[in-house]
Symmetry: C2
Subunit: 328 residues, 2 copies
DNA sequence: TTGAAAGCGTTACCAT
DNA sequence: ATGGTAACGCTTTCAA
């Protein structure tokens, strides 16, 4: 349609100014008179001039796109945890004029590819969601590339540039609640990032902790459903479950209906994350709320600080809170 | 850490070959002997050479990132429709070596910004999710920029480069089912992209269509909840609801529990989209299945065709299917 | 405040 | 099959 694109040279020629002046009109750094700037901007809109971003990136040696890397859960189920995190990230980025690329990563396979990408300098910064070995690889990549990064979640190799959830505190509250409401046979269904959750749960459970049974869950609705069936077979006396995430818990709720297990009378279930859906299940899911939106928001704010200044960062902990609804 | 980055010139000098040869080693087009290519690749890994992507983009006049633009529903609720679409897109892209940028858009505000971006040539192609005026603007932008694009969903101004769902057929089946199961007071709760759904529903409803009541819904869980309360107040005789999307329907299910309306005995509810969660609600949601994953997959395949060849595209229609579970 | 011109790091054409 | 080199379109000194 438009055919060729207008270059800065052609554009400058038409306005009878130099390319340098045009460039300055769109930059904040360059000194230029208000009147010429304004006239250039007007003319640009009129004639349809837009700086070629590749040339600009090359010249400035840097882009303004940031990337989010997160472990993909696949089995073809969407990851609501990431979805809500993304919401906060997008909302915040939206005010900054930066672009977001998203990169779910699987097991090992495409790491080499990301490697090239990160090292090639496309990103001005990256956000890494912790949880798998891939996350660690990415982190060390960012470090060697000297690329600004923020990690969301706990990572043993990183302490300052993180946004972490208070998983331990949250799980503690859940354990305590379960104990105080008279539950006697607790099970923990695991997902990702479990260490602190287990620890917190144990101490919240107090004396009950020695009866705690750990069960390997997963992170999909189907996983949750499967988990409860197995649990009830192997440990029929179970009367309380804490899940590593809400999606799992929602799957468990479903299985409970099918197995005609009364919730919360026979079985208390508490999730983790407080995704939007958990307030709408039946029964409504009790859960440890993580404020995912806020975590996303803070992660980008921290990252931008890192990019724009040399200021030292301190790790940020997002409070968690036990929300009791109907399932426990 | 690494300090300076190795440029092609320096790298080539160390290997005692020309930059042209190095460039060819990483390209598929250039003719080069297998042995030199291999040695260059090895050395690159060893010395840590990575082509600067900005320079490469500039030189080739094109990038390999594609963008997804979709109307953001905001009210701080994640959009599960997009989430599942995204899953298919990512999965497919993952095999192609292209990068994905995602851009939710709101009302009007940031269009100018996208404009600049699209026109500046960062993208090798874009996928637009239909549904709002923003989508239309974006489409015409892509057209004037002569940029390969695919639109997901119906758009009046576009006919060939689309991936559409058979909304009409799906709604028809839902209407027919509702009629055949003896419902007498149907209401349709609207969201986005409603025209064909309404049309299909009407014809499926047959004679019952004249009793159809339209209700303005939305797209969040909260919207759904609110909708049912209002509906039952204004039209207490209502005994069947078709929702424009599952999220809305899930909200309605929740409200039904609270209002002690028996589902499906007193009220049949059918959703639209078949997001993963709808198989796990209680009662499980009957819905018109849209195969979002597949739509995402096809959209990127079509887009890549468009980018790589001049072949004419034909619009693709994704079949829809009524899935009866428990809610109707 | 403005202009001229030297990069920025690749790719691709033209030679050899 | 390989090398030399002119683009690619912008930003940023340095001078005026």
């Amino acid at each position: 349609m438009t055919g060729k694109k207008l270059t800065i040279k052609e554009f400058a020629a038409q306005l009878e100014v130099s390319t340098a002046t045009v460039s300055r009109a769109f930059s904040t750094r360059g000194r230029i008179s208000d009147v010429t700037r304004e006239m250039i901007i007007t003319k640009a809109a009129e004639l349809g001039y837009h700086a070629n971003i590749h040339a600009s990136n090359l010249s400035r040696r840097g882009s303004s796109t940031i990337a989010l890397f997160y472990p993909a859960i696949s089995n073809n189920e969407p990851d609501y945890f990431i979805t809500e995190l993304l919401l906060g990230i997008n909302e915040t980025l939206h005010h900054t004029g930066k672009m977001l690329q998203i990169h779910p990563f699987y097991n090992g396979s495409n790491m080499a590819f990301f490697r090239d990408y990160i090292l090639s300098g496309v990103f001005s910064g990256i956000i890494i969601v912790a949880g798998t070995n891939g996350s660690k690889e990415l982190l060390s990549l960012a470090k060697t590339a000297n690329l600004p990064y923020i990690v969301i979640g706990h990572m043993s190799t990183e302490s300052s540039r993180t946004v972490v959830f208070d998983n331990e505190g949250g799980a503690y509250q859940a354990g305590k609640y379960l104990r105080q409401t008279g539950r006697e046979h607790p099970v923990y269904v695991s997902g990702h990032l479990d260490r602190r959750k287990k620890k917190g749960l144990r101490s919240g459970l107090g004396a009950l902790a020695e009866k705690l049974i750990l069960f390997d869950g997963g992170s999909s609705l189907a996983d949750g459903k499967r988990a409860l069936r197995t649990i009830m077979q192997q440990q029929p006396q179970t009367d309380a479950i804490l899940c590593a995430n809400d999606v799992l818990a929602l799957g468990i709720l479903k299985a409970a209906h099918e197995l005609k297990i009364a919730i919360p009378e026979q079985l208390a279930v508490i999730g983790f994350d407080n995704i939007k859906m958990s307030g709408y299940s039946h029964p409504a899911l009790s859960t440890v709320s993580l404020n995912l939106f806020r975590a996303g928001e803070i992660a980008v704010k921290q990252l931008i600080k890192l990019i724009d200044s040399t200021e030292q960062l301190r790790p940020i902990k997002i409070e968690s809170e036990l929300i009791i609804r109907e399932s426990a």
